[in-house]
């Protein structure tokens, strides 16, 4: 089966007058593929290249070396709108002063399906309502997004991405600002979308346990390189995690069947680290 998206020896360095970050950073020789229907979790410390990877995959940035392919076609040969019909991104949030309602936000996800249209047509409205229904925010449709709580805002933003009707859903730290209940909800929602619709998911997260819980495979990045790619049990290795993150951890596997659990051992540094 051909890959849905594939990075082939991709290298990238931010220019000296960095627009996005202050200090120099580069990705080097990054190769991996996302198969249709799978959930891939991307983990790694701060500045390991997780957000850059999303920007490259969505053509916000162009790779300096190598190439990225979507459905076998080079990314640069895709038009922006066509790309947005295949890949939808759930960003970390929207600005505090975002003035639109939930329904208006979700309808924005219909833009790539007819960029020349001034108003959305009834089919767009139906697609938006289906997306809101899928994430449970249909009742909130007329409310201003700024008036919602963290978990509801997150579900509204995911609904906007679903309204794009993508093949690949990319989430950037979806649980960064959410409490435990919404973390569990988000995990359940992603699994349901994956199983019921065959939606392919790329989940970028700081939360190792969420990634291990949801993902079929994990991609561990360290300093812009692939440290390991494989099943959660292979990647969440005590010594590997310790060396990449620079702190001591314990990995437990419950009853040999469930996903591995990473536990931080506070105050116990690793050799060479504090």
């Amino acid at each position: 089966m051909t890959a849905l998206a594939e990075f082939r020896a991709v290298g990238f360095a931010y220019p000296a007058s960095a627009k996005y970050r202050a200090r120099p950073f580069r990705l080097a020789n990054l190769s991996f593929a996302i198969a249709p229907g799978e959930i891939v979790g991307v983990i790694g410390p701060n500045s390991s290249g997780k957000t850059t990877l999303i920007r490259l995959l969505t053509r916000v940035l162009e790779p300096g070396e190598g190439e990225i392919a979507l459905e076998g076609k080079r990314l640069r040969d895709w038009g922006r709108a066509a790309l947005a019909r295949r890949i939808a991104v759930v960003p970390q949030g929207v600005s505090r002063d975002f003035p639109f309602t939930v329904e208006e936000l979700v309808l924005m996800g219909r833009y790539p399906h007819a960029p020349g249209r001034y108003f959305e047509n009834p089919a767009d409205v139906r697609a938006a309502r289906a997306a809101m229904d899928a994430t449970g925010v249909l009742d909130l449709a007329p409310l201003a997004l700024a008036s919602l709580g963290g978990g509801e805002t997150q579900r509204a933003i995911i609904a906007r991405a679903l309204a794009q009707e993508p093949r690949l859903l990319v989430l950037d730290e979806p649980t960064a600002h959410l409490d435990l209940r919404y973390q569990a909800e988000t995990a359940a929602l992603l699994r349901r979308l994956n199983r019921q619709r065959g939606l392919t998911v790329l989940l970028v997260s700081h939360d190792l346990n969420l990634a291990a819980e949801v993902a079929d495979r994990l991609l561990l990045l360290a300093d812009g390189r692939v440290a390991r790619l494989g099943a959660p049990a292979e990647v969440l290795d005590e010594s590997l995690i310790a060396s990449v993150y620079g702190c001591a951890v314990r990995v437990d596997t419950d009853a040999g069947t469930g996903p591995p659990r990473v536990r931080l051992l506070y105050g116990r540094g690793v050799a060479g680290h504090v």
């Binding site: 947005a84 019909r85 639109f100």
Partner: protein, 339 residues
Amino acid sequence: MSPQGRLALVLGGLVGLLVAVAAAALFLGSAAISPGAVIGAVTGRAAAESVERVVTLSIRLPRIAVAALAGGALAVAGVAFQALTRNPLAEPSVLGISGGAAFGVVIGQSFGLGLTVVEAVGLTGFAFAGALLAAAAVYLIAAVGRAAIQIQTLLLAGVIVGIFFASAITVIISLLDFNRLGGVIHWLLGNLAPIPPGALGLFALLLAAGFGLVLSHARELNLLALGEESAQQLGVNAERLKLMIFTGAALLTASVVAFAGPIGFVGLVVPHTLRMLLGPDNRLLVPTSLVGGAIFLLVADTVARNVVAPAELSVGVITSFCGAPFFVYLLRTRYRGTL
């Protein structure tokens, strides 16, 4: 109600109001002409060289047209700059763009350019160059070396650039023969004096081009509220969008400054009033601001012409008297949390 329905309803109401206000403005003025005589002039029953005919058709009617065009253009430019900078208080005069355009016009006038059609093209060119200069200065001050433009920094940069160009204009006026720039003082506060029909046609054409650029990208402007990166990931070519919107808004501003002077605050008062009525959707705000701006400036000009008759106030005085308190109101209430 669907957005289409709300647009049709509000736009219809505004067009009706504009017609009523324009008709009323035709009857009001410092020359005492009876309503019957005005009707006579409009319906063609007045003698060709009669006072009522000249006043009604050659003075009041062209003035109404200039006021409506300039007001609509400034309001649309306000919506465009607000969406482009994601700053609710952005507006051509607050951002210093009007000041830069005025500087360009004064330079053009010092070369002797007037309002014949050919010269008016040159004058608008000078105004557009001045607007670009001011925008570049504001951008350099507010954006270079920063990851994101802060709202406060952008506003301060705009105010500073505006002050600088106001001083530069004063220098040029001081250096030149005052007779050559006799109308400048009046023009600097906004002068909607009738302009020749050829120039009026050119003015309308330039505004149509600027309005078309903004209107055709109204949906993308909504997406820009998500941030540039998210807009790109939804299929918007953000760089091209910003260029198109900036060009359209600068063209609207520069044309108004060249033909009627740097009238302030229209781009703030009108879009925000409509936002309270219609919400944040730029697809509704752009067309309704065109008509709403026309109404606002027409009312302001009619007040300016009549409140101290037989003398006349500059229309910019009226818009500033409305706009400055409105700016403070927005600052203290609606955008308190974000500024």
